[in-house]
Subunit: 404 residues, 2 copies
């Protein structure tokens, strides 16, 4: 049973376009139950703010600000990449006791779920009455248990629109174009590029995800085949592609505090693949001048204002309110997850609570059957029924019949 | 006086989000005057299509398709980067005679204006009755004479929203972030990043344009000063920055058929600046671990579906219809330009015709007074009154009062 007291909510890890929807979902649900949550505090920079004693008091924010913040990308409470050590745990409990905290809500990905889990385990061990909830967010869509993650739909929409534009660009000035998409361990976001295909021969023409091993030779042959057939080629490549045994294609050597290799924020992989293709084509097709370019979508894809999936925003808000509801219903801990309901004809979801350990630490890849046997494209009829409802409407584009 | 006959319209150079608005502006105005233009043809891949005899017939396209195409980014007729040689000119005239062409409309930037000018001069010399109009488009906003160019407002909107998102991202996870923006010779698009500033201390904190000389030492000192003051720094850098005398910072060595250096499509400049900053800070501030990243916006910024300035779309359509109207009014040649009218309290423009040679070849930089004396920022009160009406509404973002 939930014990009335101060509620602390925080945000952690990389931002998304809708992470504040979840924050405001928690906050509005909590502010509506002052009997249970006499104080609702936001930890600034996640557990770092708890340790340092830096909070904002949500009772002092206007309802208009809360709505505007909900519709603002990136973590309004500011974020942190920090795993709770045993020492951190001590500090967190000291602070929670000081402030009479009985509920902790932490919004983030698998690393955040792990920290929530650690904090909860410590509380149980210490006999401290603390309700601990993790609310999912990640553009990578790689959390276990849940059907999908808040944040993914909006990032997927950005990637889809980016490829729609790039396909039109490449159609007008033909060449080879490599686009590097975020997603270290899972190809979900890269696969979303398939949504850009509207007309026959629209790109992306090839899609490479980290769920299969990547070979530079096969890549060059794949690209050349498309390029010889239709005179151009757009390729979606996950930043997480790797050779057999997980060996990297290009690594910058940097590792974050959770042990993740840093590939974003550098154009190295894209430039390397473009150079490799140029060198290959100079040998295999020397008669022609080849135009090969690469773009790395980088941080733009994770919180671009104005490119937000409506359903993603609605569901992200719901993930927050569902966590508060689950706490009030007596759940001591857990993570909010989604599952699809109904006959599948119309998209509909329900939320449920899954134990923290089921989403902490490990991530989930895209099912191998969403990718073709060659590992160079998605299987459209499997991926799109899953993906389309999460992204919603895309801009309509047209083509002149007489141009083709 | 315009001589009734076939009209040929084409698109040339890099695409924009609204270049098809101009195309459809020409086409709809021409289709409405079948007495003057019994046939309205689109040259596929610009003058290449004229040379090769590849056209589409607009009378065969449905009105719905034309409207949808108008709202689709990038060149629906496909584009080309080709300057008309004397030999090309011969072929173009042979084709025009064959098809009874008496009007040629070419949509593009300064290189396209030059080709239109060359074609018109040849026609005059040959005594061939040919009306020749150039319709402006460029995301770079670097055409002479006109107040601004169709395509710029939408690209500026993309850049502004990208920086808004990146500022929120960087605010939540602090560090140094370099973003490379398109614009070889003019800083207009890079300067548009200033629109992203909403709250105090919002980025971009530094803006570097090609209108001033760039020094790596000053750059490092500028960034460190901001970073020490507020703990983070977002920097907008034009791909066209250069040292004294126009010497490049990084050049890839590639040059297009108009002699322009190819900087887009490579992450090299951004990665180089990020590495330079890391090396600098490792020496000047060794006690702290520094997070430095770079993104290169690349092709995304020039035709992203769904991120379009409404006024830009309207004006781009108008540039096309104005060209047809000018031809019907008896102008033998020219380029359509915009000028602001009224007292400046409310934004309003009118179109006028400027001679082809006044916009051909040479480009226009941003006025030096739009940049501060140090050359590391815009002068907001000069730039924004010019820029804001072209971009229109941006997404609203909020901030929690208690976070700061």
């Amino acid at each position: 049973m939930h014990q009335p007291g101060t509620l602390v909510v925080g945000q952690s890890g990389g931002p998304t376009a809708v992470i504040n929807q979840t924050l405001i979902g928690v906050v509005q649900a909590a502010l509506a139950r002052r009997d249970q949550f006499p104080k609702v505090l936001g930890a600034i920079h996640g557990i770092q703010g708890i340790i340092d004693g830096k909070f904002c008091d949500f009772s002092k924010e206007s309802p208009e600000t809360l709505e505007l913040v909900a519709n603002t990308p990136s973590a309004a409470l500011k974020s942190v990449r920090r795993k709770a050590s045993a020492e951190d745990g001590e500090k967190i409990f000291a602070r929670f006791k000081e402030l009479g905290v009985t509920a902790f809500f932490y919004i983030g990905g698998n690393d955040t779920a792990e920290t929530t889990h650690i904090v909860h385990e410590m509380a149980v061990k210490a006999g401290y009455p603390l309700t601990c909830f993790h609310c999912p967010k990640t553009i990578d869509n790689d959390l276990r248990v849940t059907d999908h993650c808040p944040g993914y739909g909006s990032a997927a929409k950005f990637v889809a629109q980016a490829f729609m534009g790039d396909n039109l660009d490449n159609r007008s000035l033909a060449g080879i174009k490599v686009n590097i998409v975020m997603g270290r361990n899972a190809g979900w976001l890269t696969a979303a590029s398939a949504l850009a295909r509207v007309f026959p021969n629209d790109g992306p023409h090839l899609i490479y995800c980290p769920e299969t091993d990547f070979s530079l030779e096969t890549f060059c042959a794949d690209v050349e085949a498309v390029y010889r057939r239709i005179g151009r080629c757009i390729i979606a490549v996950s930043e997480g592609i790797h050779g057999p045994g997980g060996k990297g294609i290009v690594t910058s050597g940097e590792v974050d505090s959770h042990g993740n290799a840093q590939l974003s924020g550098s154009g190295a992989l894209g430039d390397f693949l473009a150079e490799t293709l140029k060198t290959h084509l100079a040998k295999s097709w020397p008669e022609k001048k080849h135009r090969v370019r690469a773009d790395t979508f980088g941080y733009l894809q994770r919180c671009f204002p104005g490119v937000v999936s409506t359903i993603d925003a609605v569901e992200a808000r719901r993930a927050g309110s569902a966590a508060v509801a689950a706490a009030l219903a007596g759940n001591a801990s857990g993570s909010i997850a989604f599952r699809r309901i109904g006959d599948g004809a119309q998209y509909s979801i329900e939320t449920f609570v899954t134990p923290l350990h089921t989403v902490a630490k490990e991530t989930k890849s895209m099912p191998r059957e969403f990718l073709n046997a060659a590992g160079n494209d998605v299987v459209t009829e499997r991926l799109l029924p899953y993906l389309k409802p999460l992204v919603g409407e895309l801009p309509r584009v047209g083509q002149l019949a007489g141009v083709g």
